[in-house]
């Protein structure tokens, strides 16, 4: 049976090319892998190999022909004994092209529906009224969350620098080695890129790793595995496998540690589909969210804060206390302005609200708790009531969490805004070491107060 040889596409973008030279002539026998012709693309001259065996029955496009469209028949291959002279002339190139083109799918997906006028907001309290509470530091709450989940599930393990024998660089994993042993609490060498990748592989292999970064500043070395390996695999595999794991550690500025150790990565990780991102403020949220994170089948970025580790908050005394992702907390109710924050910046939002109350401004303060998924409904709902919005975060201004929130509010609650949204952020500079400059670089309570006064026209 005769086989048409078509003008090949030799690069992802090639539509036509020059048939520079034939290296076979009519009557030649070719087998697969033999070079038949040289073809010039816009990039280079490429050799074109035979795929099938046969005899060159007819050459349909002479060498030197320019602008030969991809999929145009350029030669006909016949089997031994077949009469080449009886072959038809080249079929029109267009037919081959049509056949090759996959069914059209240019139809754009429908744009995401805009939020309903008043979004449904989950207002159920985090724990039932009357639940016993005990004060606990964020550090202890995180440790308890890991210990409880490790007791419940033998596939959960912790790995990172100094997590085991040193008991944690910030003592978050204190006592875990004693309880769970060196098989499940594993000291790694200082190789973030490598152990993040090993963690992802272990997750693909069915375990539920908690990978601790001594600080998230070092996660930059592991960014490829977090984004390309952990976040994208579920999608790339058509849902067959993903990374059930947590990357956790302190994030953001500590104190006087300079530019490379003082950065808030909330906005970076929040951008990536496939990741979930939590950034708790209180000890109760740290515990409840970390337990949820460890159980979540997706890769979770869990952003803690060194300064908060030692702070105490009430934590409910419950056997199994979790906080769901995507549910903001209305930390303080108010009617004059909405202040949205998360993580350590909540303290500035709350301090500002206290001081503003003295001036008769009643601020509603929302703690987002998780940034992906983000409870934008809670923000919209509040803005519909207060008509004014200030966001507060430690990270840099360009491409910040606040700028994303601003765009959502613009699109979904524009008519409710009585003033432009203001984003209070860290300054647009690397973190300086000098005490006075460092103070200047961080977001402050006074800046939040000033922003609130601006949006409330006071």
């Amino acid at each position: 049976m005769a086989t048409e040889i078509l003008m090949p596409a030799l690069s992802p973008t090639m539509e036509e090319g020059t048939l520079a030279k034939w290296l076979v002539k009519e009557g030649d026998t070719v087998s697969s892998g033999d070079i038949m012709a040289e073809i010039e693309t816009d990039k280079a001259t490429m050799e074109f190999e035979a795929v099938d065996e046969g005899i060159v029955g007819k050459i349909l496009v002479a060498e030197g022909t320019e602008a030969v469209k991809v999929n145009t028949p350029i030669a006909i291959l016949v089997e031994e004994g077949e009469d080449a002279s009886a072959l038809p002339e080249a079929a029109p190139a267009a037919d081959a092209g049509n056949e090759a083109a996959p069914a059209g799918s240019s139809e754009a997906p429908a744009p995401a529906a805009s939020a309903p006028a008043a979004p449904q907001v989950d207002l159920t309290p985090d724990w039932a009224e009357g639940t016993e509470l005990k004060p606990q530091t964020v550090r202890e709450a995180l440790r308890d969350a890991m210990a409880e989940e490790m007791r419940a599930d033998p596939d959960v393990f912790l790995m990172g620098e100094e997590v085991a024998e040193y008991q944690g660089a910030y003592k978050v994993s204190q006592g875990l080695l004693d309880e769970f042993g060196s098989k499940r609490v594993i000291d790694t060498p200082i190789t973030e890129h490598g152990f993040a990748g090993i963690g992802v592989g272990a997750a693909f292999g069915g375990l539920k790793p908690i990978v601790e970064f001594m600080t998230f500043n070092f996660s930059m070395q592991a960014m490829d595995h977090i984004v390309n390996s952990a976040a994208k695999t579920l999608y790339m595999s058509g849902g067959q496998m993903g990374a059930h794991m947590v990357f956790r550690g302190p994030n953001g500025a500590a104190a006087r540690v300079g530019a490379q150790h003082s950065q808030d990565y909330a906005a970076w990780f929040m951008q990536v589909p496939g990741l979930k991102v939590a950034m708790p403020y209180t000890a109760a949220d740290a515990k409840g969210l970390l337990k949820s994170a460890i159980r979540d089948p997706n890769p979770v970025i869990f952003l803690e804060n060194e300064i908060l580790y030692g702070r105490s908050f009430d934590v409910p005394v419950l056997d199994d206390f979790t906080i769901p992702f995507g549910k903001a907390r209305i930390y303080r109710e108010g009617s004059d302005v909405t202040i949205v924050s998360f993580g350590i910046s909540m303290q500035f939002a709350l301090e500002a609200a206290d001081k503003l109350a003295e001036d008769g401004i009643n601020a509603e303060v929302i703690d987002l708790r998780t940034l992906r998924p983000m409870d934008t409904g809670a923000i919209i709902n509040s803005v519909m009531k207060t008509n004014r919005l200030v966001t507060v975060e430690e990270g840099w201004p360009q491409g910040s969490v606040g700028s994303y929130i601003s765009s959502v509010v613009m699109q979904q609650a524009f008519d409710y805004l009585d003033a432009p949204v203001i984003n209070c952020t860290g300054k647009d500079v690397p973190m300086p070491y000098a005490a006075n400059l460092e103070k200047l670089a961080l977001v402050t309570t006074d800046e939040v107060i000033a922003a609130v006064k601006e949006v409330t026209y006071r």
């Binding site: 078509l6 596409a9 139809e107 393990f157 190789t191 990748g197 090993i198 693909f204």
Partner: protein, 329 residues
Amino acid sequence: MAARKSTKKPNVSAEELKEYYREMLLIRRFEEKAGQLYGMGLIGGFCHLYIGQEAVVVGLEAATEEGDKRVTSYRDHGHMLACGMNPDGVMAELTGREGGYSKGKGGSMHMFSKEKHFYGGHGIVAAQVPIGAGLAFADKYKDNGRVTFTYFGDGAANQGQVYETFNMAALWALPVVFVIENNQYAMGTSQQRSTSTKDIYHRGEAFGIAGEIVDGMDVLAVKAAGEKATAHCRAGKGPYILEVKTYRYRGHSMSDPAKYRTREEVQKVREERDPIEHVRELLLSGKHASEDDLKAIDKDIKQIVNKAADFSKESPEPALDELWTDIYA
């Protein structure tokens, strides 16, 4: 390249030898067909063919046991076919169709099969190396006696994460076989121009990891080395490195004019060292198979590949709502 290690009297049965011939031929014909479909515009983007390297995966798969894992880079079609993944599903993924292993959402570089313990299909050079060690970590944690084959090229061997992984794999005695598929060219840069050491496996010695060079054009030598390596891992002795010297006949990807080597160099390997011809000769000279037997295999393979090509054209493109699925579990 070293001389062929296997003798004229191979230590395998005629049936096994025929099976290797068949599997290598399937990969070659499949890849040739993929090249053809790429030429027709049915396969897009990047497409890295495995032609010339077939003996590596077929030899190593012959050394595996059920449950052993494998992970590789983006030159992955051969690995998938060798571990038993369905050619129809692989080809349909190349054409970006619903019937592909990743429902058309992964493409040539990103395919996976939980069933066949194939963990991708990774597009970032050397990222699969710590992932492979992580799979081995999981097996050691579960104490299940499984081994992970972690494939990477001579180009990937210059990435830092390879050595971070060597260190931890040795430190924790992970059951992982690092397979360096040394085809001598990292895209267009020869090993000579990119790599300070002649034999890459020597770098394992710095971490206390044993290894050896294997003739990657000889399926029997590869199989024997694979058996030695897996035995080492299963005995709890930690990782092992196989530097398999092989050769890719085609360009790095479909759009590579391959001007960094001569046509004569490629032709010489094809004529003198071809892994499929090698087994063909063994079969014929040892009278384990007749010309007609081999022709029947050729015909059978052609049918399988044509069926895969047909399936890959007929399978519909993914439904539009697939854009939004499989982002979160």
